[in-house]
Symmetry: C2
Subunit: 220 residues, 2 copies
DNA sequence: GATTGTATAATTGTATACATAAACACGAAT
DNA sequence: ATTCGTGTTTATGTATACAATTATACAATC
């Protein structure tokens, strides 16, 4: 079908199916606080709210449950999970741990082609940091990490880390207006990238660990 | 509905919904090799094979995709992901890393009530090791780890680690016939349990790490 | 013979109708 | 007033019908 719809953030999304599109929209609305914690997600209500039938709604809810964002009680319905500050800290810790492992594996396993792509990404990053183009940087930043996931050559890890990405997405904007934001991120990425060039697993792991810790501080 | 059906292992399962029941059965069949890698999972075929309609089939497939066991290509269908020996090694590594983190948090956060339950579990484990009752031990073993997940007081971590459990489940039986199997597992659990009693995070993390490494060796 | 175009069949994506279980309201019995 | 029972309503669970996309077969063209 590939309908072009407009989600609640006003950004066009041309996702393949209503199910996947809806699951993304619901995810955003949960993390942005639009759907409040412990709130009951009645299927029929979502149908009307998002203008789709129950089938894609139910499939989206199954996906959200697998990611731990909602809880489904049999014959009772789906409820939004509340995320406390402690929960967010924990999630960051869990993400950090796997980002470090992904970096280790990626440095060991990266192909020449993937290395070239990473290098290109880093060049762009330097360029747009100079230009002070925050929007471009956001995408490049996400891509940098996605490339590392891919280079780890483990489908499950890539999958899990990608699903963590959403947790930071909505928190952006506040911290990024600081002057040294772009510079800091670039410098941290530079250290990680250099470890890839050197094939130095331990240096890469350390650099990524520090990058994640700083990232948490920036977005808190 | 709560129908009592019989899954392919011959074990009765009285799950709440056809969707969740089916996702468990499909998971077992993928990991046992009944559904071969790269095999296309045509919805209609699964309907006939498992005697349910398409709705629960599709919902089960969404769940399996979230766990990384199948890949869904839009408008093309679902395909079984092949897991190589390297993949299994990686999964064990990913599990080990989070088991260690769960242990750290659990030792820090465990409640008195949870501690009592863990102690009881350990007592049972000693008893059934003496009795050489492998079947009972299997359940107790799984419960021991589940209790630690719970005591970590992080829903997402508990969720993820529970989903890893299935990967070892089907591999059991071969290694467990060895005489020293039960003794080894008991001893490793004893070290972990002692760390809980002492509230020693580092000792617990080390003990769990070793337990996981040994566990991988045993099931390889 | 290989390639492209088109009609047909098969399969996925979505909507809706039906079945069943939980939530609710309300009155009777204690 | 509280508890229990019963009928009604609402929501979830399941099946099926319809729409849209993709795969297949086969003929026409080069």
């Amino acid at each position: 079908m590939a309908v072009t719809v407009r989600n609640l953030t006003g950004v066009k999304s041309t996702n393949v199916s209503l199910s996947t599109d809806l699951s993304v929209r619901l995810k955003e609305d949960i993390l942005s606080g639009k759907l409040k914690k412990n709130q009951k997600l009645t299927e029929q209500v979502i149908c009307e709210e998002y203008q789709v039938s129950r089938t894609p709604v139910r499939e989206a809810l199954v996906a959200l449950e697998s990611e731990g964002l909602i809880e489904t009680i049999p014959n009772r319905g789906a409820f939004v999970i509340g995320l406390s500050d402690k929960d967010m800290d924990d999630i960051f810790t869990l993400r950090r741990i796997y980002e470090v492992q992904a970096t280790r594996w990626a440095i060991e396993r990266i192909t020449d082609e993937e290395m070239e792509a990473l290098e290109e990404n880093f060049d762009f990053m330097e360029f747009y940091t100079m230009k002070k183009d925050v929007d471009k940087m956001l995408n490049i930043n996400v891509n940098f990490h996605q490339m590392i996931y891919k280079a780890s050559h483990n489908r499950l890890l890539r999958h899990l880390l990608s699903s963590y990405q959403i947790y930071v997405k909505h928190a952006k904007t506040a911290a990024m207006k600081k002057d040294d934001y772009l510079e800091s991120v670039l410098e941290e990425h530079r250290r990680i990238f250099r470890a890839f060039k050197d094939g130095d697993v331990e240096a890469g792991a350390a650099a990524m660990e520090e990058h994640m810790i700083n990232s948490r501080k920036r977005h808190k």
